[in-house]
């Protein structure tokens, strides 16, 4: 399938003829797609269209799913993500991820954010504290939790937990942040805060977000990709996709005729 990708700036991630399988089921067909650096790219589409599979393929989270298999090529800064020499652990340090459901660890707020640093062997406690504070500030959570850093992460509200998860992902200083429907479990106010946060972060990070919420995609993203039945139907600047899509299926979806 042909895709036009008139994207400006450097391409951080690029896929060529990327297909994915769960056992015998093909979840993605021949996707050619690029994620530009330091922009927000949204992926939309009806349930089961493959957008989450695509996102999770970018940091090899699908490796944990029995029977998962891919074909084609996915590149991060021109390097093969599925290359034989690539250690997925090191890859995931560069490509962070925030999930649909807030998933803090059974530890204190501080330790949640410090986790990534600890496993990377950062010993200096002053450095850890600095980075934790910086990450919590970046995730706009610092003021709310600075007095109870030692408290359990589970005592936070859902929205706060999700921002904590973002802070946790930021602390290891990834280059790319993948967001898998990060606001779908949150109330509107928390959702707004997360969206605000994404705008703050895009100066420094390449962001890819999967969302069910078309308004959200329209509000936050620079580029939008529309997936349907495992194929990438159309990708382009968000304003174009939402006002003047090339493909009639995109239009149907956006105008709410299906999905």
């Amino acid at each position: 399938m042909e895709q036009s990708a008139p994207m400006s700036g450097n391409l951080k991630i690029e896929t060529k003829g990327f297909s994915a399988f769960y056992g015998k089921t093909q979840a993605l067909r021949n996707v050619n797609f690029s994620v530009p650096e330091k922009k927000i790219t949204a992926m939309i589409g009806p349930s089961g269209c493959g957008k989450s599979t695509f996102l999770r393929s970018l940091n090899r989270m699908n490796d944990f799913i029995p029977g998962f298999r891919m074909e084609g090529s996915a590149l991060l800064d021109g390097e093969e993500i599925y290359g034989a020499a690539v250690n997925p652990v090191l890859l995931r340090q560069r490509v962070g991820m925030v999930f649909q459901k807030p998933n803090p660890f059974q530890m204190s707020i501080f330790e949640n954010v410090a986790y990534g640093l600890r496993i990377q062997g950062v010993k200096s406690s002053s450095l850890v504290s600095d980075i934790v504070e910086k990450s919590l500030r970046a995730a706009a959570l610092w003021d709310e939790v600075k007095d109870r850093l030692k408290g359990s992460a589970f005592a936070l509200s859902g929205g706060q937990q999700q921002r904590l998860c973002i802070a946790r992902a930021l602390a290891v200083e990834p280059e790319v942040i993948l967001l898998d429907e990060p606001a779908s479990a949150l109330d509107p106010i928390s959702t707004a805060r997360i969206e605000e946060l994404m705008q703050d972060l895009k100066d420094r990070y390449t962001i890819a977000i999967v969302t069910h919420n078309m308004q959200q995609a329209a509000r936050v993203s620079d580029y939008t990709a529309f997936f349907l039945d495992g194929t990438l139907v159309e990708v382009g600047e968000t304003t174009k996709i939402f006002t003047n899509p090339d493909d009639s299926r995109t239009e149907d979806y956006i105008t709410g005729r299906f999905g």
Binding site: F64, M97, N103, Q106, R118, F154, A155
Partner: protein
Amino acid sequence: MAAPEHEQGDSLLSQGDHRPPVVAPLSFLAPDPDETLEEQALARSAPPTETTLKNLRRASHSQILRSERLFHLTLRLGGLFILLLFAIVLGVSVVEAWPSIEKFGWSFLWTSTWNPHRHIFGAWTYLVGTFWVTGIALIFAIPIAILSALFLSDYAPKWLVGGVSTLMEMLAGIPSIVFGAFGIIFVVPLMRDHVEPFLANTLGRHFDFFSGDAMGYGILSAGLVVGIMVIPLVATVTRDSLVMVPRETVEAAYALGSTKAEMVYFVKLPAVVPGIIGSVILGFGRALGETMAVLLLIGNQASVPTSIQDVGYTISSLLANTFTYAVIDPLFSAAEIELGLILLVISLVVNTLGRELLLKLMGGRLAGSVGGG
């Protein structure tokens, strides 16, 4: 029974009365004050003549109340029975132990003499023996149990998991006398001929605690065999809580660049600490009360062990060995029942402390899912 919201007509108006009856002593025996004579009469009114949905519906508020009440009553009787049973056990024990409690007072706890002939009874040697066996059992069992639980939950190939889990459950169900016999034919010779001489020649050169004269029987063998009995218990509960760690949590760890070992060690293990504590409490209870296997292996000698190779005596094995005889002497039997009471109190205290610790560790989360406590 259908949920109240499906009810219509008079039952809708009386939703407020669907709260559980107020718990008051014997209140369940009293007639329901809400039920008027008219309602009772209504409930007994003539059978309907046509079969319509309306006729099939439960007729009145009082009818619903009655069946509700019957159900509550049944449940409450069940609960009451447990309480009563506990009160009886406790009450009878205290009454029967009273001659000993009265005569020896608190000193019963730290007196190490136990001499039926001279009518002096003290719990100290049996308390120490009980704690040694329990301690050795737990020190031995917990690491192995946790490692095997981790192996089963995260590392073992699928085909192995089912088999090993079934084996674990079978192991947990084997009668303790079988473990005792295993201890005699396998553990005792192993300790006597290999482990104890080795300990005596290595650690024993520097610490008397490890030296001794290699009997095979003693607190070490008893503790190890009880440990073997505790392993399946701790491992099963720990594995169950490991499996219950949400996939999202595991994925979060991986997404932050954890290796599998880091994920397991830094994320999964802390998340199941309450489960492990719960299982250890269960294991503690098992080890504390284990009688037959200990009796066969510990050497049943009322002396305070000073070495891991020494023989000893636990409260439960003393009771099993001598209680039938103690009954001919009121003070003797009172002292033995007091020992039983002490065992009861210890397990109550440990359970309570464990539950408190659990609640504290669980933080904002509910402690309900964790076994034990």
